[in-house]
Symmetry: D2
Subunit: 449 residues, 4 copies
């Protein structure tokens, strides 16, 4: 059976991930992501109203025109998890393919919300839920799609595996090797090891190279949780305002914040549109068990009403968890720092960033400004209470050891970013140009012909 | 009563700490430290045989000649803990003063060992042990010396407080605000708050500014421990060599390493002269409860014999904890990296640095070389599994809040390093030049005349 | 005669410089500057309409309330040169003092333009021009004010010297030690050496510590000019667009750009409001000899008309010199990068930044975005063709050698930034706290009482 | 005619450059270099006595075993210039090939000296001198070897071009695009443009990617010269010691140092083994015109004698130019800093580093230590008076424009280092995997079959 891989997006950058695998006449697409920074650099761009070709030209969504060179029928579109760089282009591209979108329940829910927000295209692909550990048949030629549970900075993340007569294709984006996550099960390394040893073994492994130049091991979420606990518990006696911010989609982190807020005698409340969206969805789908009275507010008016209530009842009784961890100019925390909300910061108030600045000068500049404005109000910052959601080098070694793939395709980075992964593979006996395929957006790689 | 403070060493650098406080006619000296980097930059220097004046000229030990301007009798020499930058000059300077050395039991033991190693001077000062929480009388004019328990990266650390009729002088070097240390009690913030409120309150606070330019809170040792646990547990299935290194004097960290080694089915063994010295002393004095069969070897021959045994019985059953976390050229780990010991590193072997590189180009160069040599042997590095032993800015705020001192003297940094602390004090209403005294080595500050 | 110095602004930051010297009953104020970054961090702030007290609260202009503690009459307000951080608060503060503003002709002209733009206060102080090398009498007690020629990144810069019976007070902001400037005379080191040796010598030297932590020597403008020549000459054969940007007030650099543009067969044209303002003023006052047909356009309409003409006649015949070297969002170059002007950038077009990013995350973020937008248009960037306008350490040594001051006051930096200068002074035998006076905004330093 | 390229060394690192080109049955080898850092990391290694296989295992010299896969006869070994990373393995590898070494006169002389120092192998290949601008026939099938003059940080550097019936192979290591070098002719861009347009054009261009991630243009040597002039002229009135250091092989820089020393009234003298070697050779071959009485001393005894003479006659009359710009522990400047030579440094003496630290922690650590030791003697450092010898991105654009090659092979960097060059090529219409060949050490690339 011919096996061909189209590396469509995310092979020259982080963002707008998209990869297609052809097994004989059946094609499966993994991820359709958005590179948000390519949108935000322009003023006043509303992606909801834009045409896909314009977004392709901007470098914001994958250029999927190479799909016409792939001779086969798309049988499924498979986003691995609900982050925008993996699902954000579905509303712009999925309608071109006569195929269902197959994903885990939480991811499906986020895809559904995104499609509903789309204003340019009518996306009517079927949405099929499949849980980690389950499989489904693809086409009529003995191809199976399996979801293996992985751990990442969002819940319900999986690595899809396409079982073909030539061996398995493992699509390895995005994960951390976490044996003690705060929510959900640990990464299913047992299953990866089985896949590496059963049948024809692994024909090809497509790897998340986000952290490929970082040595050592990405710590477990449990380490971030203990760090966060240490920080929040140290504030137990403080009788002023405490505010926290983190990635809205990072439900495990939000859960820790909510718990520790209660432990130190404060009522947590989630504020900001994306806070409400992700946590509300997670709670509705029973992924997380929040206190029954946990407030979540997204609309400006209800947020401001909440802030007024907090100011009236006493800041010392609340811990708002808000958007704005990167200092985004329009996010809640930045608005608080500018004095644009009813919540008033005072000397000595504490702001906890349970996040790291994504290292790029735009973010660094915005974050710097947000912290400076917070400081002008007297607030003090606790920074970097975070662990990455992506594998460092030791995780890559462990995956190679488990899967023992014949071929490897580094993804989710530019050439510089993935260079460390090539060296790592070569130290394990692989060789660039032979079985390590360094690709670019828009390339086809023929593995079996 | 006249109160005068002599800022003798460590006010223009990190290292060679020394401060004297005169209360009327009674003088107490806090710390007599060594700046090791000023020694090591020269080839072939043996401090044991050197005269103090030469070491003063080298900038290695405090220039205590200003003591002759201080009209009073030295009643005690009080090292706060056993790190070299606090006790390392005792063997060179203490014999000039007719006064006992007063310290906690572990510190006294380390001072004793140091004096025994001295070859130039005969140091015969009395050694007096006093526990955290205890007090003693100094001189005949109502001055008391109290030890308050603090948490640092070595055990049995205290902050000495000199109670005078004019108020307390709190000597705040070195500490972290740790409420969940792995060994010993948490920092005694309750006592600091009492001292801030009883009698005349705090006349002067001398603060450890090592991390004064770092925002947020230094994490608890428990956070480092969870990080270390995550790293070591992730290696549970590895059947080759694992080696760890950390600060020899950091008994809590060594204890965690020993525990986790056992948890993953390996026998820990401590190797290297200073490993044996600090851990052996800590165990003998009952500060830590190591497994009864824990091996500790310092002499070259016994180390090599141990390595041979490990190679014979199987590297997979052992976890050597060795010296060399900064890549010091002659330390155990660097020797292992150069292939100079019987322990042979293989592809995939793991080296855990439970330490951070002290950020200075000399260390960074040596560490880089050590890691490169380890890499040439196939070993892989896990880095930065550590938390600092010093207060970040939030700890400084908490101390000011607890002590409410009238005067503040920043210490343990150069002018650049302590600049953040001056800003911090001013944000709390103090003012440089009025009640914040930025000093230099060799100055006298008259607080009450 | 009593000599007292008030360190009013710029002693805890770079920006809003202001210092007053009292000699007996006569007071002279040096500089009244604006810290623009404290303004720009807020959205939609129009300083022209703001009250000085609000600007003081924002940290934007000096808090001159300490002036009421200075017993004497202000006889002159003396800005050293025309940069905003030295003259930008004159329109907000000068009217409070019944004293003329004394400055060199170019500086006076810029002060006049600023006062004309002010909309809140009526500033009616006399404006008196005095050239470098000239002197005037201050008050009736034998005090003289002299201007010594210095070299900086703006023309007509001087260091004022106040000759008192107790010795000279030399106000040393801002300068570079340039022996081969492109415009005007070299720095007048001969006169500084004379001042250091005549009469009572130098009582006090107030030094520009901007680069006090940088070793070596700030290169001459001639070095930047040769670098710029090398860059522009290398483009001689290019037949597309070339655009340059630099500091608008840096007339010598603009002059070099204009010359080299002509050398490579292109017509230079200066675009942007501040480009027109500074270069127009410099030409009108005969400080620089531009080609008679050199276009300078500041108003949006005339700029756009010029761009249209360039596009019609051919980009290859022009070299626009525009504002925007820091990536300021509303500056000309950023507008060009966003495609908001009629000038269209094409693949391979060249953009020359004859400037360095001022190292602060806000600037770095904005500059990054500007460069990214330029890159999206195909333009390519030549960066860092620049030399600083401020003394590095070797310049400081040379000034101390020339002036041999009794007292030194570091200025134009925060504590961290000036720390290197304190060390430098101490290496020359001075001592912090004795004759090196590290001050804060709002302090009085009594030198002679 | 079959054209095949073997990328042997320097494709995964900087250092140990080696590339072979097969045109039909004729093979030409370009460069045989040494990666010195792989040697120096080991203690006490003497390369002169080592076998090539051991040096290959150390990663110090190219692994030329792939040459056996290349079916053809080696007709010439062609080092491009005399730096060690291009000629340093000749003494270890050249004797395996029955072919002459063809190079420019200065390079040949350095090769000869190296072969004479070799103690393990007898290298007896013919040494053939060919000047820039000349050509020679290779084999019997219409292949020609031409040398094109380029500018680099050593004299007599060329780019060899192999003219084949299938087009030219241009081997582009190492160069800067200098139109105003201080010695010799500018780079021969006219000839490169001709080669790009004549006959079959350029089949393949192998490019020096050292600076491929740096934007803009590498400045001309003239810019470094003006910077150096500014620095040295500023010291004209100093009456103490001035010492300079630079790359020994950088004859143009040494020439500038010698000239400026004389301009400020000091007698230059070159000290250190490699100083004597390179400058002596350059002078003997008439590449540079030094003053007839310029002293050059390499042996320890004559150096020390010279230092004694300088101390006797007065440091103020001399300017020693010495080795040690990277702080190498055994170089002359480091020995001076340690007080191991008769030259005594005093307070205020000046040390000019006309070099940049090669950015690698080992160098940075050593340089830091050297500067610290110099500072302990009172000396003050002028740093970074240098320009790179390698093309930045704009030079790469210009070369592509001149040569318009069909194929491109990035060299002289690891994958991370060359990544910027791949992006650059793609922005010009090339494509990685199609006509941009990212290779690894030991690969064969078949261009025409």
């Amino acid at each position: 059976m011919e096996i061909e891989i189209a590396t469509i997006g995310g092979y020259e950058e982080v963002g707008r991930q998209m990869t297609a695998v052809r097994a004989g006449s059946d094609v499966v697409i993994f991820d359709m992501g958005l590179n948000l920074s390519q949108v935000l650099i322009h003023d006043n761009v509303e992606t909801e109203r834009m045409h896909s070709l314009d977004l392709i030209d901007m470098g914001a969504i994958p250029d999927d025109r190479v799909m016409s060179d792939l001779e086969g029928d798309v049988q499924a579109i498979v986003p691995t998890h609900g982050h925008l760089d993996h699902i954000g282009a579905i509303s712009k591209l999925a309608h071109r393919y006569n195929a269902p979108i197959v994903a885990t329940p939480f991811t499906i829910e986020l895809v559904k919300q995104q499609i509903e927000g789309e204003q340019k295209f009518g996306v009517e692909n079927d949405l099929i839920k499949m849980e980690a550990g389950e499989s489904m048949t693809i086409g009529d030629h003995g191809v199976e799609l399996e979801f293996v549970n992985v751990t990442h900075s969002i819940i319900d993340a999986i690595n899809p595996v396409l079982h073909t007569p030539e061996g398995a294709i493992v699509y390895g984006l995005d994960k951390r090797m976490d044996h003690s996550p705060v929510l959900e099960d640990p990464i299913d390394m047992k299953r990866f090891r089985e896949i590496g040893r059963e049948g024809e073994g692994v024909l090809c492994y497509i790897e998340d190279c986000t952290n490929a130049n970082k040595k050592g091991r990405t710590p477990s979420e449990r380490v971030a949780r203990e760090h966060l606990r240490d920080v929040l518990y140290s504030m137990e006696d403080y009788d002023g305002g405490i505010v926290a911010t983190t990635f809205s989609s990072h439900i495990a982190r939000v859960k820790s914040l909510v718990e520790f807020a209660e432990d130190i005698g404060r009522q947590p409340v989630l504020l900001g549109r994306s806070m409400e969206k992700y946590s509300g969805t997670a709670e509705r789908l029973d992924f997380v068990d929040f206190p029954s009275d946990l407030g979540m507010f997204g609309h400006r008016k209800s947020v401001d009403r909440t802030f007024k209530r907090i100011m009236n009842e006493g800041k010392e009784d609340y811990l708002p968890v808000v958007t704005g961890h990167q200092g985004e100019p329009r996010a809640m925390l930045t608005r608080m720092a500018r004095g644009e909300t009813p919540y008033e910061l005072d000397d000595g108030d504490k702001v906890v960033f349970s996040a790291r600045v994504i290292p790029e000068p735009t973010n660094e500049g915005q974050r710097y400004q947000a912290e400076k404005l917070l400081g002008m109000q007297g607030a003090r910052v606790y920074d970097d209470i975070h662990v990455s959601g992506h594998l460092n080098q030791e995780g890559h070694y462990a995956m190679l050891d488990a899967l023992q793939p014949q071929h490897i395709i580094p993804a989710h980075q530019d050439l510089k970013g993935l260079s460390g992964y090539v060296n790592l593979c070569e130290s394990e006996g692989y060789r660039m140009g032979r079985d390590v395929h360094v690709s670019r957006n828009g390339n086809l790689i023929q593995l079996v012909d």
